[in-house]
Structure formats: C-alpha cells, structure tokens
C-alpha cells in the first residue's frame, strides 16, 4: 500500500497558508508605514528604512546566542498564555482572561516567593510556582463556573475579571505586600525562589530554567487534546455542544475544566515571569501578554504546535525590538503595530485569501469556526 501524502500535505498547506499570508502582509504594511512616516519625522525620505528595520529585528532576535535566548525568554509566557487561549478556542470558548490569570499567577508567586525568600531554593521555587499555578487556575475557574451554571458569557466575565485582577494587585502591592524601603510600590525580592539561570549567567541575557517548561507543557497539552479522551471531549464540546451532550459528555464540566486548565497555564506563565525575569512584582506590572496571547493563539490556529511557533515569532519580534530602535531608529511601538496588523489580517482573513488566492477549504473554516463560534453567535448555555 502506497502512502498518499497529498492529503496531509494539502492539509498542512491549508493550515499554514493563512497565518503565513497574514504575517507577510503585516510586514508589507509595516514597511509602507515606515516609508511614509520617516520623512515626516526626519525630513528626508529613506527607502532602505524598512529593510534596515527588519534586518535589525532579525539580528536582535536570531543572530547570536544572546539574541536567541532573549527570543525564547520573551516567547515563553506568550506560548503558555497562548496555550491557555487556544485551549479555550478548542472548547468553543473565547478566553480573554489570560491577562488577569497571568497577573494573579504572578502576584501569588511573588507573594509566596517573598514569604519563602530564605527557604532552600527547591522548596521556595516549587511552592512559589505552585502558588502561581493555583491562583491562575482559580482565576480561570470563576468564569468557567459562571459560564457553566448561569450561561454568563466568558468574554464578558473574563474581561471584567481582568480589571478586578489589576485592582486586587494594586491593593496588595501598595498595601500588605509592599516591600519595606523600596523606592516604588513593589513586592519584596523573591531571592531564593528565583529561577536559576543555566546559560549566559550574569550577562543580562540569562536563560532561566523556566523556559524549559515549554518543552514539557507544549507536548503535554498536545497529548491532552489529541490523545486523551478528555481532549476528545473538549474538542467535541467546542465543535458541537449538542453532539457532545448526545454522546454522553458533560459540557458544563468541560467548560469549567478548559478554563481552569487555561488559568493554570497562564498562572504558570505569571510565576515564571516573576521568578525568572523580574524577581519581584511591581504595583503597575506593565504587560500585555494576555492580549498578545490571543494573537498567538489565532496565529497558531489554536493547535499546540502552531502556538509554539507563533509564540516564538512574536517573542522574536519583542526580543529584536531594542536593537531595532538602536540601529534603525524605529520606536519599539512598531512591534505593537506589526502585531496588530497580523491580528487584523487573521480575523479579516478574506483579505488574505483574496491576495494570496487561498481557497476557503472546508477543513480550514471548521478550524476557525470553533474560534468564532463563542463570541457574537451566542451559543448560550452549554
């Protein structure tokens, strides 16, 4: 029996064509923006600016060990929270609460890290990470419960909980968790709970052990979704809640489970950022990871493998930003712009399909249907 590769190849192409097209278009639009805006700022027209900008990003994200480490460190939370959002998509849920879950995980691990700052590293790290994971899980469980038993739409509840989270953190860090003698409102250093670096130690481009988590979590979520019966249930609920009920599954339980596991992943990301990168939690933690993760999940088409690569891509953009600013003189906000345009083209996929003549194959539509089902269409209670 000959193995026919045409079907899997066509399917792979179908999966990749749209994200690749969106990225390419985003870079073209980004180049146009640079070309148009640079004369306004500098007074002279510089046709090579886009090229120099993109070259600087590549150099700052790929072309040295330091650059690669920066990319992976930046990509780690994006991938983890991206998986949280992607898992929601698979279950037919639009989890916008990655931001709140990330922050709750961060503050919980910061608190635990501060409290355990003088314990042995193994104890301190383990318990601090667990604290972050549990806090994130709890923060995902709430919208899950509300969705399952009251039908409250997860988009609304998770957005609201994001705000609640910001306020709670602001209270905790300016109040009970505030470090004594710090020049600004922040939690105490986590000290022994800090994740040790294993590469580039002391260079400012350290690779902490937290990034290794990705190597476990991505295959684990993939296994959960595609090899376990629970994953089959999650995917069924996402694709067709009525069929899930017919098949004897419990949509309510699965909704709660998906959002809780998502919360765990986002909370883990928060813990890794605090324990591996910053070492403490400031009152106004400046991050956008919960929302960037939505782009990551969409770009990765809600599959663990796709999210891994799209997380690396967005991490590379972030890691390349400083060098871009130095070498090309383009502000780091350019990265937000590029990311925004990517998201724009992903959601307005008709444009990408038109430009690149991508046929709307059925499998692809179904893939996205899961994504779009949950918002706007109002499937209501499971």
């Amino acid at each position: 029996m000959r193995i026919d590769l045409r079907v899997p190849l066509a399917r792979a192409r179908g999966l990749i064509a749209l994200p690749a097209g969106a990225i390419l278009l985003a870079f073209i639009v980004g180049a146009v923006v640079m070309l148009v805006s640079s004369p306004l700022v500098t007074g002279h027209f510089d046709p090579s600016l886009p090229l120099r900008t993109y070259a600087a990003i590549v150099e700052g994200s790929l072309l040295s060990v330091n650059a690669l480490v920066d990319t992976v460190v930046a990509a780690t939370p994006l991938i983890l929270v991206g998986l949280a959002v992607g898992l929601g998509f698979k279950a037919g849920l639009f989890n916008i609460g990655g931001q709140g879950q990330f922050l709750m995980g961060a503050v919980a691990s910061a608190a635990a890290g501060a409290a355990l700052a003088h314990e042995s590293p193994i104890v301190a790290i383990t318990l601090s990470v667990v604290a972050g994971v549990v806090a994130g899980a709890a923060y995902g469980f709430i919208p899950g419960l509300l969705k399952a038993y009251t039908g409250a739409h997860e988009v609304v509840t998770t957005i609201m909980l994001n705000y609640v989270g910001i306020q709670v953190i602001s209270y905790l860090i300016t109040g009970p968790l505030r470090a004594q003698g710090a020049s600004f409102a922040r939690s105490p250093d986590v000290q022994n709970a800090e994740l040790p670096a294993f590469l580039n130690v002391g260079t400012g481009h350290e690779a902490h052990i937290g990034i290794l988590v990705i190597l476990v979590v991505v295959p684990a979520i993939s296994w959960l979704l595609y090899r376990s019966t629970t994953g089959f249930e999650i995917r069924t609920v996402g694709a067709n809640p009525d069929a899930a009920r017919y098949a004897g599954m419990q949509p309510r339980r699965l909704v709660i489970l998906s959002l809780t596991v998502g919360g765990m992943l986002a909370g883990l990301a928060g813990a890794i950022e605090i324990l591996g990168v910053s070492g403490y939690m400031p009152a106004a933690y400046a991050t956008n990871v919960g929302f960037d993760a939505i782009t990551v999940a969409l770009l990765g088409r809600a599959t663990p493998g796709g999210i891994f690569f799209s997380g690396l891509l967005l991490g590379a953009l972030r890691a390349g930003a400083p060098l871009m600013q130095v070498k090309a003189g383009v502000p780091v906000q350019m990265i937000d712009l590029l990311q925004g345009i990517i998201l724009f083209f992903l959601t307005a996929d008709v444009i990408v399909r038109y430009v690149f003549r991508v046929k709307a194959a059925r499998a692809k539509l179904d893939e996205l249907q899961t994504v779009t089902r949950s918002y706007g269409s109002g499937t209501g209670k499971p």
Binding site: T229, F232, A239, A243, G248, M249, D366
Partner: protein
C-alpha cells in the same frame, strides 16, 4: 440540431443544452440536456449527489457551467446570478424556507422585491392587493398580514411560492417541496402546482419520492452520476423502473420486513409528560410499550411532541412526570451516557446537530458515543489503532463511500453521513434502537440499506422505536403504529393492517373528527389563515 430553434410550434420555455460542470476529481454535470415546455411540470429525479443541485444552481446563476448553453424561450442567455435569474422569471423554492418568521406574509414577500410608493416608503397596500389577487388566481387565499411564524409548514410553503409569483416567475424550481408535508398538505400543494401549470408556468419539481413524481409530473428526467440516464412519461413507467434508472441497479422499494417474532415487553413508557425548551408541556401523559423484536412506529406531523418524547427516552431531556422502564431498569432520569450504557442506541433526526461533528474525522465520528470505553480507550487514553480498525470495519460493513477514514465527516454526502451514524448506533450490543427520521433527505439506495438494517436488528431481538414524519416509512416498517397528535398518543394500530388514509387522518385531526375543512397540520395554533379548503 434535433429541435428547431426559434418560436415555431411550442418553443420550450427553458432549454439547457450540454451543460457540463467539472469540479476537481468529479464531473458534477456531464453534458446534461433538459427541456422544459411552457405549462409543464417537469420532474427531476436523482439520488443525492447525482448532480441535480449543481444543475439547478447553474440555472439559478449560483455557479457557471464549464460548457453548455441555456436558452430561455429559444434565446440563449447567460445568467449572472440569482437576481439575474429572478429578473428573467426563474425562481427557486428551497427545501428550507427562506422566510423571516417574525415578519408577516406581505413583508416576507416584499423582502428583496420591494414595491415602492415613492423613493423612501414601501407601498404595502399595493403589495397586499397583489398578494390577495395572486392567491385568488391560484386557489390559495392568504391573509397578507398574518405573521409567517404562525403559519403551518404547508402554508409557509405557499408563501414561498407566492414570493416567486410576486416576482413574476414563469419557471419555478421546487426542491423537494413535499419533504415536510403531510399527505393531505401534499395533495393541496399539488393542486396549486397544477393550477400554476394550467396558467402557463413551467415547474421543475425535484423529488426522490417516486410515487409523487408519477402523480404530478408531465415528464420525468432521471439523472445519475451527472448524466441524464433517461426521460420518461409517467404513463409509460412505474416506480420500479424509475428507481432502477436512478440507482443503476434493481432496488427493493418496499422493505421485505417479513414476520416479526416479538418477545416480552422491553421498553415501557407510562404517563409521560415532557416539556420543550421553553418549558411548555408538549408531551402529555403518553403510555406505550415496545417489545423486543418488534418495530414500533410513531406517525405524526412533525412538531407534535415526537422529538421531545424521543429525547426523554434517550436521556437528552428530563421528563416532567411519568416513568420510562427498560426491562427491569428504571431509566426515567437516565442521562445520555447512562441510557447508552443501558443499551439504548439513538439515531437522531438532526444528524448535523446531534449525531455527528462535521469537522471531525469519519473515524472519530464512528466512536462518538463509545470513545471512552475499551477497546477505543483505556484509562482515559485513546487507542488510535483500535479506532482506525473500527473505522475500517464500519466502512466495509456499512458501505460508507469515502476516500479514507480520516476525511472530515462534513465532506461526506448526506447518505454516507447517515450510514456513519447508523453504523455507530446499530453495530453494538444494544437492547433498544431509537430511530428519529432515519432516512430524511436520503436517496433511494441509502433508504433501502437503512431499512434492511433496521429489520435485521429487529429480527435479532432488538426493540425498535421508529419516529418518522414520512408516513410511508412508518407503514412499511412498523409492526405496530402509534399516532401522535398534539402531544398525545391518539391511537395504537396494528402495522400490517393499518391503512394509509386512516393513519393520515389521525395524524391530521387526532381522530376527533371535526369538520372536513379543519386545518391541516394543526400542530401550530392558528395555522389556517384565509380560507383553508381541502
């Protein structure tokens, strides 16, 4: 070259010549010729996927043919799109009505064909007048102010036809118009169609019900695998001949059900009350029993509580009162998983909603209700090899036509999707088989297959509960027949001796014989606007 072009004798109203449409890997239409004369009811007969829809989509401007030409009154034309088709007098009445239920009849008809009083406002009075006039002319007076959602299915269909007439359609395409109607409603709609034809309208009637085609059509064109395989006059053909043309082999039209040998009572339903999604009670105090080794058919117009009854038995819906027992077990409050494990299999009426996940592989769909148990999974881990092996077996035994077990189920034809559901639900250790509309929308070949499998299950000692809005299906298969009307079981009859007319009357009136002009399909309250005359 055969027929003379130009308006000599009676020029055909519509001629489609050599229509060819290729899709990657398939030829949907292969040099199809179709000639429809003015005032003719022309039936288009063919299995699902034979190419009827493609041909009609070409006629309606939804797709362009690769080759061939379309002539309207002898003039070659190009149809650019549906609005172009409508402008040229070609209208389509879809199987699933394109009506807005909350709007009234007049507004539904005006939608997309607005009659304006001036540049801003609609001229509703003029529209109402024209709707009344058209209704009178074709023998179905309708109140233009009635809300469409309150009309019975039969009347909604008349609104669809009115819509076409309002747009001055001369060629009407009706896609399986009788699929949702009772026998009485079908008779009424046939009367309407004959009136239309008598006034010179041409009608293309798509159906897979052979006896209906024989009754209504002036001419019949049979399509198989994208080709015209025959053209017949009703007088010179019969159901067997048509079925054979359609399928390409001899078909057994009436299931050979043989003798049933029922054993003891297996399913017993006692005074069951069930509510619908809005909490209204739609099943009132129903009691009946199904014995092992018999087929108990439930006849009734769709929407008389059958769906809720079936959902209560299969665990998808909690009964409000009453008891359901399966053998010695009380399954009244069983959930779908428990019902499944008690040996209840369920082929749901809406397979896309309940019975399958269109975006999943065929193999995954084949284990949709058994995915969690050995051999398909152990301790929460799927066994992909076992699932694949099961798929190969089911594809072979149930003759599911598919390139492989990994294609997404949504790409299969309707008949093959239903075979997939049937394979999953039939081929297991089960005690009660619940079939809700198991053959709706399927072609003759698939219907024959599913009926044969059903009888086989019965003969193996399974209790079968069959719900169908197709009276013929209930009559052909059932050993006993219960008739449901407005949520009650109004009669339980012996299957082999029940007459079509008697059951049809019970379905339409519930047996409380009122006046002969009582509204048909009275499941919907206030369903008879204007003069409903039988």
């Amino acid at each position: 070259m055969t027929s003379s072009p130009g308006p000599t004798v009676t020029a055909p109203a519509l001629e489609m010549r050599g229509i060819t449409k290729r899709y990657p890997g398939v030829i949907a239409n292969d040099r199809i010729d179709l000639t429809v004369r003015p005032g003719e009811i022309h039936a288009l007969l063919g299995e699902n996927g034979a190419g009827k829809s493609t041909l009609m989509n070409i006629l309606y401007g939804l797709t362009r043919p690769d080759e061939g030409e379309i002539l309207l009154d002898g003039e070659p034309i190009t149809i650019k799109g549906p609005s172009d088709a409508i402008a040229r007098g070609i209208s389509m009445v879809h199987q699933h009505f394109m009506l807005v239920p909350v709007l009234n009849v007049a507004d539904n008809i005006l939608l997309g064909a607005e009659t304006m009083a001036n540049r801003v406002f609609l001229d509703r009075d003029e529209a109402r007048r024209r709707i009344r006039e058209l209704g009178q002319r074709f023998g179905f007076e309708i109140d233009p102010d009635e809300t469409v959602g309150r009309l019975s299915v039969g009347w909604q269909q008349r609104v669809e036809i009115l819509k076409a007439l309002y747009r001055e359609a001369r060629i009407l395409v009706l896609d399986e118009p009788t699929a949702v109607l009772t026998p009485q409603e079908t008779k009424e709609i046939f009367a309407v169609l004959r009136r239309l034809a008598a006034e010179g309208h041409s009608i293309i009637f798509i159906s897979h019900k052979l006896y209906e085609v024989l009754e209504i059509a002036d001419r019949i064109t049979v399509i198989r695998r994208g080709r015209v395989v025959g053209e017949r006059l009703p007088a010179e053909t019969n159901e067997e001949d048509l079925a054979e043309l359609m399928v390409g082999r001899e078909v057994q039209l009436v299931a050979d059900r043989g003798e049933s040998h029922p054993a003891g009572v297996l399913l017993s339903v006692e005074s069951l009350d069930v509510g619908d999604d809005r909490g209204r009670e739609v099943v009132h105090g129903i009691s009946f029993e199904v014995r092992a080794g018999e087929i108990f058919g439930i006849a009734g117009v769709a929407g008389n509580g059958q769906d809720e009854l079936v959902e209560a038995i299969t665990g998808l819906r909690r009964p409000a009162a009453g008891r359901i027992r399966l053998g010695a077990d009380d399954v009244t409050m069983a959930d779908p998983r428990q019902a499944h494990e008690h040996g209840i299999s369920f082929v749901p009426a809406d397979r896309h909603r309940f019975g399958m996940v269109t975006s999943f592989a065929l193999a995954d769909n084949l284990v949709l209700t058994d995915y969690y148990a050995p051999p398909y999974a152990r301790r929460g881990v799927r066994d992909d090899a076992a699932i694949a092996a099961r798929a190969e077996e089911a594809i072979r035994e149930f003759d599911i036509r598919t390139p492989s077990a990994t294609v997404t189920a949504g790409t299969l034809s309707g008949g093959n999707q239903q075979k997939m559901v049937v394979a999953r639900e039939f081929d297991r250790d089960l005690r009660l088989l619940v079939l809700d509309q198991p053959t709706r929308g399927l072609d003759v070949g698939s219907v024959e297959f599913i009926h044969r499998q059903t009888v086989r299950k019965r003969d193996a000692g399974t209790a079968v509960l069959l719900v169908s809005a197709e009276l013929d299906e209930v009559l052909e298969l059932s050993d006993r027949i219960g008739v449901m009307y407005r949520g009650r079981m109004v009669a339980i009859l012996d299957g082999p001796t029940a007459s079509r007319e008697h059951v049809g009357l019970l379905m339409a009136t519930g047996g409380q014989e009122t006046s002969p002009g009582a509204p048909q399909g009275a499941a919907v309250p206030g369903s008879a606007p204007g003069g409903t005359r039988a």
